[in-house]
């Protein structure tokens, strides 16, 4: 098992290198001169050239990439072009909010999605099933930012229960969390329902019935764990969607998280920040995926056997 975890962590290295290379090339090879953007349109050609020299922008692309990788291995991700502050500081200042938002949303999405999915499958074709499926369908069809706006309109402006923006207290997280969770919750609900229906048809469920087990026992003891196996994968994938979604949600609620930092850095061609933020998010996503795979092993003994091989 430990071997497997170490192997997976080692596999992260080429992935991170690849991602950093892709992002680096996207930003470097497209038009737009960071030095010009930093200094503004009125700066002299000479000043821009000096800055380019200083930032190392005149070096060939590959050389720049290699030196970036070299220094980031040593823990130096460079400094923001704009503020001059080290990238790490900026990211660590903003990341907690984003992470909290993503985790709260994941929690909400699973805590509601899985039970609703199970109930829908068990009470198939009932009113509860119909209602939750229509609800889930609507949730997947609404853009999260629009849900956010509607929530603000109803709960902040009309009812004045939650703040429009700001996360000074826990109340401030409520609307952003719902906004961010809505899509994933719908997906998890639907997935849970369909795998549950699949599992209920399995031969071993019939075996359990032939043993004389009650429906309740069959569902809790035989079905849920088996049904969760594919759902866990979906949760992992959704975490990626959630991390990406924070960019949008933070914009809707004007929250100072990693997402807003990233968007503004991209606009300013603030390369070190963009690189840092994307790599950070990708690492977070990869680690979550690793965790998901480990949870997998806990639920499914067959997978566990594969890992310990």
């Amino acid at each position: 098992m430990y071997k497997y975890i170490i192997k997976r962590l080692m596999m992260l290295i080429p992935v991170i290198l690849g991602i950093s290379f892709i992002v680096f090339s996207i930003i470097s090879l497209t038009p737009g001169d960071p030095a010009r953007i930093i200094l503004g349109n009125h700066a002299s050609e000479e000043a821009v050239e000096n800055l380019r020299q200083e930032l190392g922008l005149n070096e060939p692309f590959i050389k720049r990439y290699i030196s970036y990788v070299g220094s980031s291995i040593k823990g130096d991700f460079g400094s923001s072009y704009r503020t001059g502050k080290p990238v790490f500081e900026d990211i660590f200042g903003k990341f907690p909010l984003t992470l909290k938002l993503a985790l709260f949303s994941m929690l909400l999405a699973t805590a509601l999605g899985i039970p609703i999915g199970i109930i829908s499958a068990v009470k198939r074709y009932s009113i509860i099933d119909g209602a939750s499926m229509i609800f889930a369908l609507l949730m997947t069809s609404m853009p999260s930012f629009w849900i956010g706006l509607m929530l603000i309109l109803i709960f902040s402006i009309k009812l004045d229960i939650f703040p429009v923006t700001g996360v000074e207290n826990i109340k401030g997280y409520v609307l952003p969390t719902i906004t961010l969770a809505s899509f994933s919750m719908a997906i998890i609900t639907r997935m849970t329902r369909s795998t549950m229906l699949e599992v209920i048809r399995q031969d071993y469920v019939r075996t359990a019935r032939a043993k004389g087990a009650s429906t309740k026992r069959i569902i809790f003891k035989h079905c849920i764990r088996n049904a969760l196996i594919p759902v866990v994968t979906v949760i992992g994938i959704n975490f990626g969607i959630l991390l990406g979604g924070t960019v949008i949600t933070e914009t809707v609620f004007a929250l100072p998280g990693l997402g807003t930092l990233l968007v503004s850095a991209i606009r300013m061609k603030d390369m070190p920040i963009v690189m840092g933020a994307v790599i950070f998010l990708a690492i977070a996503f990869s680690i979550i995926n690793l965790l998901v795979d480990l949870i997998y092993a806990v639920i499914d003994p067959r997978v566990k056997a594969q890992y310990s091989r």
Binding site: Y204, T207, A210, K211, G212, K221, D300, A305
Partner: protein, 320 residues
Amino acid sequence: MSQTLLNIKNLYVNYETDEETVRALNGVNLKLNKGEMLGLVGETGAGKTTTALSILKLLPKDIGIITNGQIEFDGKDLTKLKEAELRNIRGERISMIFQDPMTSLNPVLTVGEQIAEVIELHKTLDKKQIESKVNEMLELVGIPAKRKKEFPHQFSGGMKQRVIIAMALSCDPELLIADEPTTALDVTIQAQVLNMMEELKHKLNTAMLLITHDLGVVAQICDKVAIMYAGEIIESGTAEDIFEAKEHHPYTVGLFGSIPNLIEKTNRLKPILGLMPDPTDLPQGCKFHPRCPQCMEICRKVHPDDRQTETHTIKCHLYK
């Protein structure tokens, strides 16, 4: 005189969906005495599995419907029982083994847990007693007790089927229904499992309904045989009646003629022509008549009755 344990009378079962109605059982009559081994033989779609599932009322919910008939078990009509009452019979008095050992065990529970479950459900034993019963059952089917902590995927097909048999027998049921228990197994493993089942039968005196398409398996271990076609028992009797008597239903004759003979050299087989009838649109009269080499005028119109001589019953107009 042996006592009747199971008596199925005039059983009709339909599978009803929005699009069609499949007439799976069309008046099945079947009797099984205590401690007896009955082989129920037929080809795909004959209604063997449906018969088994109706006994335990495990037919697919809302689709499989018993439209007529009784299933008397130890004098009680199972079709009239409530779900809770049936649960007390399932696993305790009547057990069932399914065809595919690969999918019949829950992949996320250890085999020990799965055997223990059936004991827990029906017996009031403490944890220790259950453990020792699990050990005893595993040893009985030839698996070392220490393997109870393993998961199904760690067992081979033959071993899984042994686990399933152990599970089915752990409450000493009066009736064991085995649906193609060895079909998915290799022939040498099948021989092992069949031998074991025969030994257990002598040890435990459990009655058994063995469902199979393989006349060879039936010949090896069954006392009585019933042959199904299109949802009916078309011939039944003792093993001698089926394998050695002169008079047979033409379908039975066709079935034997289709099996390549291992002892004598035959040039060509004598198969039954044509195909199984469509169960949503069964023929009038005798359901076998479109394929029957001895079809008469009456066969097309009138459904034949059983002709009974002592133990041997044939449903055919040829015999009056």
